[in-house]
Symmetry: C2
Subunit: 653 residues, 2 copies
């Protein structure tokens, strides 16, 4: 999994005298951002506005030149920080004009504090005895039949497995029996068999699901899918090495029947609606399977197992179970546990011998994707009191450790995905993902995804913008702009007061890009719902927020958010940033482990059975917690002592 | 299963003074035959030859009148014995002319000694604790969901089964999950579930395979099929009462690809031959299923289980397993054990939840039909040393008791089914099934199936004819006709010496019906193969034929053969006739028990594993045994002391 990394070089910024090391190819703007140096940059780093010019004092850079720089300036060493790429050690001076603060002093915005990626260490699992492959390929050399040994082919195979590998309790499947005679005799009774093991070792039977001519033990693969409401991701796993050898993703074709789970459920209640949506998702998965097999040059026959995780509604729709009761109180799913299915029964384009496992759900709104994350991240084996949280339109929250686990879902609304925000957008090219502010001029430094001209604000950018505006007193703790500040960028717009992030004149586009008080209010409501959910859960089990020892973030959003910003606005409870990790796609991670270890498949039943689910709307304290959370970061600053101190805010302010 | 029987009446024959009781509607010829009185009757009892006239002395009969009787004779009380039916107590005089023996004295032919039908006593099994239904229907009334009880539908169902019936370890299937929500709510959470139990109680899982609205526990059915090379029989079983409520049979549509298993295997080796034959058999079974459901007014949904037995080749062809190696030394089948299949995977027209069980086989030539018979007849639980034998083109032989079992198959040839016999035919209307001889005139009494004019000789008739000819010295112990006897019925024909059973002139037809020395030789070879097989098996385990304590006959032939004749020709070893029983179709009998008891399903694996199969062609003594058996009844008369005495034959004769 180790990628070859580009070389890293030192960049020294003058006059601040700050030095930072970063990868070749990264921009000077990025270097400055990393050490919290502000450089005016309206255009998101796309090289359009020309405001971010810096002077190369020593060393060289690649690029950073366009028509806004005269030949004389270029000769003198001026470059645009947003497009100048590091290619060796370099010393750069940030002119007063570029920052309007004397000499580019720190703006007080610390470097972005992202959570560490947490990945499963397969070696560690192996040492801990947790790796019991659910599928194994074994090579056999069997004696030929003779007059004194005319055992049936099936018996010969079973007894061979017993003698060579001490295997017991084996069942041969129909498709295997149908080709058994031919395959055994094609290479003189030298064959590779695929065994699907019982989840409880020593209990249940080993299914001999496939047989191949010759030795194919090296080639054994599994698939993992995360069925999201919007997107479906798939991975192809080498079951021998545990490595992910292919990954694909695509929109869930169901999306044409509604954006969210509720509209999908409503469609499922129409005639043939359920079938249509089931088929749509199956079609998407089958396309991903085809792409995964093609790109990795894997034969369908080499896939033995597929593990699938999704939220409860997606799981129902994929299986063709009626989701009707999920959207109505008391929110009853058809099932939270699913037996192993034959993949072909689910219409997956996989061989008959392939088994499909679906992660169990906890409730109508805490689904198999979260359970997969709980299993994959190992919370259920950890002594530390952990908050596991997957933030999206709905945030699913799990709190607990190896002794107990509680969970809940809360509806955060779409703010974190850019919904309900005037210039909000998904995390795509052109989305403002990072931001800093010149506290005197209130000029921004916008950094966009792909360094493209800004088109809007994505969720992680929104968090940083609001946290930065708060830190500089541009907004107060209720999210209202300080009307006393004077700047062309602060104005009263159609929806009340707003801050102009990008002037249309600077970069083109349909109009100015702004953030207004309604946007900020929507963000506050969203973060309040999540924080209140976490606090309610923690307090329902008799603990306090201060007892949380670590936070695990799941989902794409979790991997992008700046932890300081998240704590500054009160989205996440305050823990030391080093205690926050992210697992990326928790569903895929858990699915991959399930492909590699029967331990996970066995433990998940027990974990789900002891996980208590809270219906927040039924917990009386939740509403109060929510109201108390409608401040930045919270009404009660004692919950955020470090943050409050860092931001220089106090209850009195 | 008790049928209402017709009233029985006494018939007294003069001058012999013999009285017999028989059912109303039976003929006087049958009555005479039952007590061993010979009445000349060439035409098989069809009323054509007019030779069997008798005088009614007291009482009346129905029928027995045709144009061969004058009005005067009729008035005097003369009737034809073959068509005169008993309807009350009657006294009948057999005239000297009708028998040519003074006054119809006994010919020395005893009454036919058929084996008793042996049927499983379900009550006895129940008392013995052997009835563990593999399928059970349970009625449930579940609490409605509420805010404080929003368990998933599946959990509600599983926990309901646990609380109301102490059920554990349950798995819900996909089709059940798909309709669960709807069915639960249709009658306020009152449902009937169908549970398929694990074969080993307490091990494995209970599959909840179906759910119905309301209480349907009374309606629970299973199917049983016997896939014969020629014919397929099916029964529909009420799983609550154990009763057979429907039965159907039809030719196996495979028959157009060859009459015997070897020609079927050869066809299976052609392109698409296997598929074609598999589909043909499946089509026949599906037609039988449709007829069974229609005639018993059963819905497909009410069938949960089907048990199937057949010989090893038929089982392979039905499952689509390649039978190629079955017909070549060392005679290796693909498999002798078969896991439970989903009936729909076998293309049976049964609901998805229906499980198909196939009886395991012992070897390439001792198949699941025999194993079913062994299980159904209970040999494997009996202390008595038992011979179980199913006689057809191939005879399958099992010897043993509850401690050990050995088996073998021997190729008897088609003589018992009328094959290789000049006028042999299947047991159908017009086949001579019984016979006696006037020892002076050598005139026959032929009795045909259906009392139709004779068309040929069926297997059971052949046995009686040869035994009778032997008893009267018409043939010797090598099956050669006594050339010194003088009768128009004894003559030299195209294939050597022969006895004329029926003159063409008497009954019309294509020609005289005869039995010749080649026919008798073929029969001797067939019975020698079987007897030698039995004796080889018995002696291979260190026992003697005299140690056999009982015989169980299976198959249609077994139910028809006269035991005295069978022992007279040396087909069956000599045991007291009371120790011989027949089970009819052993495959159906075992299948029905398997539908009713998991005990059978569990024990069969162990029984098959400890049954030793002998390949007779590999046992050196078999050939000698065979040669020694090419006499009537055997070279060694000490093996048949009672028979020899009864027939008045000795080694010297």
């Amino acid at each position: 999994m180790e990628e070859s990394r580009p070389p890293r070089h030192r960049v020294t910024f003058l006059p601040a005298g700050v030095t930072v090391e970063l990868a070749a190819g990264e921009t000077l703007l990025k270097a400055a951002q990393n050490v919290g140096l502000h450089i005016n940059a309206s255009c998101g780093g796309s090289g359009v506005c020309g405001k971010c010019r810096v002077l190369i004092k020593k060393g060289t850079v690649v690029g950073g030149i366009n028509e806004k720089l005269s030949a004389f300036d270029r000769e003198a060493g001026w470059r645009q920080a947003c497009t100048a790429q590091v290619c060796g050690e370099v010393t750069v001076e940030i002119p007063a004009g570029a920052t309007k603060l004397a000499g580019g002093l720190s703006t007080g915005v610390s470097a972005r504090n992202r959570s560490r990626l947490r990945q499963y260490d397969l070696e560690e699992l192996r040492r801990a005895g947790l790796l019991h492959p659910p599928v194994e390929k074994l090579f056999l050399e069997l004696p030929r039949p003779s007059v004194v040994d005319n055992r049936a082919d099936a018996k010969r195979l079973i007894q061979g497995l017993h003698h060579q590998y001490d295997e017991r309790a084996m069942v041969l499947t129909l498709p295997l029996l149908r080709k058994l005679r031919r395959v055994l005799r094609e290479d003189d009774f030298r064959v590779t068999v695929t065994l699907a093991r019982p989840v409880h070792l020593g209990q249940g039977r080993n299914y001999v699901v496939n047989i191949q001519v010759g030795n194919w033990t090296r080639r054994s693969f599994g698939l993992v899918f995360d069925i999201g409401t919007t997107t479906i991701y798939g991975q192809l796993i080498d079951l021998n090495s545990g490595e992910i050898i292919g990954g694909e993703g695509d929109y869930n074709a169901q999306i044409s029947y509604g954006e969210d789970v509720i509209s999908r459920i409503i469609h499922a209640e129409t005639t043939a609606g359920l079938d249509t949506m089931r088929e749509a998702t199956v079609a998407t998965i089958n396309q991903l399977i085809a792409r995964l097999l093609t790109t990795t040059a894997t034969a369908p026959d080499e896939i033995t197992s597929v593990t699938i995780a999704g939220n409860t509604t997606m799981t129902h729709l994929f299986l063709g179970l009626e989701p009707h009761s999920i959207r109505r109180a008391p929110y009853v799913p058809v099932s939270t546990f699913f037996p192993p299915f034959r993949a072909s029964d689910l219409d997956l384009a996989l061989p008959h011998h392939c088994v499909a496992l679906l992660f169990p759900a906890i409730s109508s709104y805490v689904g198999g994707d979260i359970v997969a994350g709980v299993m994959g991240s190992g919370i259920y084996r950890s002594p530390a009191l952990t908050l596991y949280i997957d933030i999206g339109t709905n945030a699913e929250i799990v709190v607990g450790n190896r002794e107990w686990l509680v969970c809940a879902a809360c509806s955060a609304g779409p703010a974190f995905e850019g919904g309900g925000i005037t210039h909000g957008m998904r995390a795509a090219d052109g989305a403002i993902k990072d931001f800093s502010l010149n506290p005197e001029s209130l000029e921004p430094m916008n950094i966009t995804i792909g360094n493209r001209p800004p088109l809007g604000i994505c969720g992680s950018g929104l968090l940083i913008i609001v946290a930065t505006l708060l830190a500089h007193g541009v907004i107060d703790r209720r999210g209202r702009f300080n009307r006393r500040l004077s700047s062309p960028r602060l104005r009263e717009g159609k929806s009340g007061w707003e801050y102009v992030l990008v002037w249309q004149a600077e970069v083109g586009g349909a109009g100015d890009i702004v953030i207004n008080e309604v946007d900020i209010d929507n963000l506050i409501r969203a973060k309040a719902a999540i924080y209140a959910g976490i606090k309610t859960l923690v307090e329902e089990v008799g603990l306090a927020m201060g007892d949380l020892e670590q936070i695990i973030l799941a989902g794409a959003f979790g991997s992008f958010i700046d932890l300081d910003a998240a704590m500054a606005i009160g989205l996440l409870p305050e823990v030391a940033p080093g205690k926050v990790t992210y697992v990326g796609n928790g569903a895929l991670m858990g699915g991959r482990l399930s492909e590699l270890s029967n331990h996970i498949r066995r433990d998940v039943v027990e974990v789900v059975n002891r996980m208590t689910s809270f219906e927040l709307s039924e917990v009386t304290s939740f509403k109060d917690q929510y109201v108390a959370s409608l401040f930045l970061p919270h009404t009660d600053l004692e919950l955020f002592p470090v943050t409050a101190k860092r931001l220089g805010i106090s209850s009195e302010r």
